[in-house]
Symmetry: C2
Subunit: 312 residues, 2 copies
């Protein structure tokens, strides 16, 4: 048992790591524990290949810098998707980091079942998303530091003093996470669907008992939970059951992070739904646009492509 339970994180090159892991209760389920896990793998991998400890990094003035999530994309399949994991599943995770200058970094994770040999992560193969038994995760992160106000809405770009990025490969521009982020962000101003059963607005008060991370910021994985909290309400509004919601296969999900928020803030979530999608197998695309209810400040835009199993 011991060997299997001890995850091995191994550098496989100057910009790459591999690991095997066992899925535990704290890494799966109906919530956002698995996406939180992916985020930790990003911090581990960047720490391993970029010379800085992401967990304790500081900028030139000595202020703590955080490797904040800016764009998060996970593509799965019916055989391997985020909520399809259960206790004891063995996974191999091959990861590779790409350079975007001193203030940003992109990490790709290719996740497979089993403990097979590590494989090099090639961007062309990754973005083809064509291996049905792979889960593909893309994290685009920016180093941030708290601004003078100390509030969660006041985060600024930063770079840890020991962050090494010059040795990282550039990503082919057609896969730019900045472009993907901009495409999602543009949905902030999209017209809602004409069909009133395909749209809903709900308010979510940030939950001090769940949503803040270890440095008091709104936790990146909590955005996934908040989006799902809202989407289950759209699902019920359309007549769906909780069991039906849990039975959906979320084939593709992405979030563009636009802002953070303090405890006490209320997020207004504008939801919309349309049939179909461009991911094979998806029969529905749902979107959530999150903004601070009181100030209108943008917080995030999320999109999911789903196989609901419901004949529309």
């Amino acid at each position: 048992m011991t060997a299997q339970l001890t995850p091995e994180l191994v550098a496989t090159g100057p910009d790459a790591t591999t690991r095997t892991t066992v899925i535990r209760p704290g890494m799966c389920g109906s919530g956002s524990l698995f996406v939180g896990q992916i985020g930790d793998w990003t911090w581990d991998t960047v720490s391993t290949v970029c010379g800085t400890n992401a967990y304790t990094a500081r900028d030139g003035r000595g202020a703590p810098t955080y490797l904040a999530f800016h764009y998060f994309h996970v593509r799965g399949s019916e055989s391997l998707h985020v909520r399809g994991l259960t206790f004891g599943d063995l996974l191999r995770v091959d990861s590779r980091v790409f350079g975007f200058g001193s203030e940003s970094v992109l990490t790709l994770h290719r996740i497979r079942r089993g403990t097979g040999a590590p494989e090099h992560v090639d961007p062309a193969a990754f973005f083809a998303f064509d291996e049905p038994d792979c889960l593909y995760a893309q994290n685009f992160n920016r180093w941030v530091v708290r601004g003078a106000s100390g509030g969660n809405e006041d985060l600024r770009s930063a770079s840890p003093v020991d962050f090494r990025h010059e040795h990282l490969s550039a990503l082919p521009p057609e896969h730019s996470p900045r472009r993907a982020h901009a495409r999602l962000r543009a949905l902030m101003t999209a017209e809602p669907p004409a069909d009133e059963r395909s749209r809903l607005v709900v308010d979510y008060p940030i939950d001090v008992s769940r949503d803040l991370n270890g440095v008091g910021l709104l936790y990146f994985a909590a955005y996934f939970s908040i989006v799902d909290w809202a989407l289950v309400r759209l699902w019920r509004y359309r007549g769906g059951s909780d069991a039906g919601f849990l039975g959906r296969v979320v084939l593709d999900q992405r979030i563009a992070y636009l802002g953070n928020a303090d405890a006490g803030a209320v997020l207004r979530v504008r939801l919309s739904r349309e049939p179909g999608g461009d991911v094979p197998g998806a029969d529905e695309t749902v979107r959530a646009v999150l903004a601070d209810r009181d100030t209108g400040r943008p917080i995030a835009v999320a999109e999911q492509q789903v196989k609901t199993g419901v004949v529309a």
Copy 2:
């Protein structure tokens, strides 16, 4: 970096393990991620010393058995408590397992900062709770299997075929977790405080977007989040702010698990509060009694002793 980021789980005897770990975003914060982590350590330790893989264990009929949480107790201090952990903290965790027959098992974790030498976990020293820089966690677990109905309210005792427990030490009876569990359970029928500002009843609908684990049961760590979700409402009812709630130091918290529940259930949470406590430094004791709103079926009883910093 690599060496530090790879947790080492090492058997230090026939009933004991030790590990070092780095606190990541997925392991800390305002929610229940750290208690979830402790639970995973219990499953790891039992898997290492008891011959069965807790993540994939099955009973004699081939049905999956789960190492369900029956009693969970964490004792901290002002210098080391559950919500006081942040990114990059290094911890050493010494763990030891005690025998309670074929259907139950007790695991003690002594958690310290740093990466010092492992130390033997002695029950007398553990239950003295007198090292101020230690976090003490006690997990009493029972093997369960789903009953014929398949519903979450229908769980039965079980034992995995390969579960070895005869080599484990017995715990001195004065520290019996059964007794501690019974003491908490007895609060189900306690009279509410006379002062109406010291009691509150709230209803919590089980959240399909957060609360279920990877096998569809109400996740043991979600009970902690649900209790906190309710306690923040009692706190606000008494005039407290969210910032004040986050500033509390929870010195001691314990939950007796009495039942599981399905998605769609609504839990009625009866809250009460009294000044003081028997843990050094505690200025308030709060309790939460959880039952199924519709059937009255008991779900859990929780108690926290807190240093609020508020002069009562």
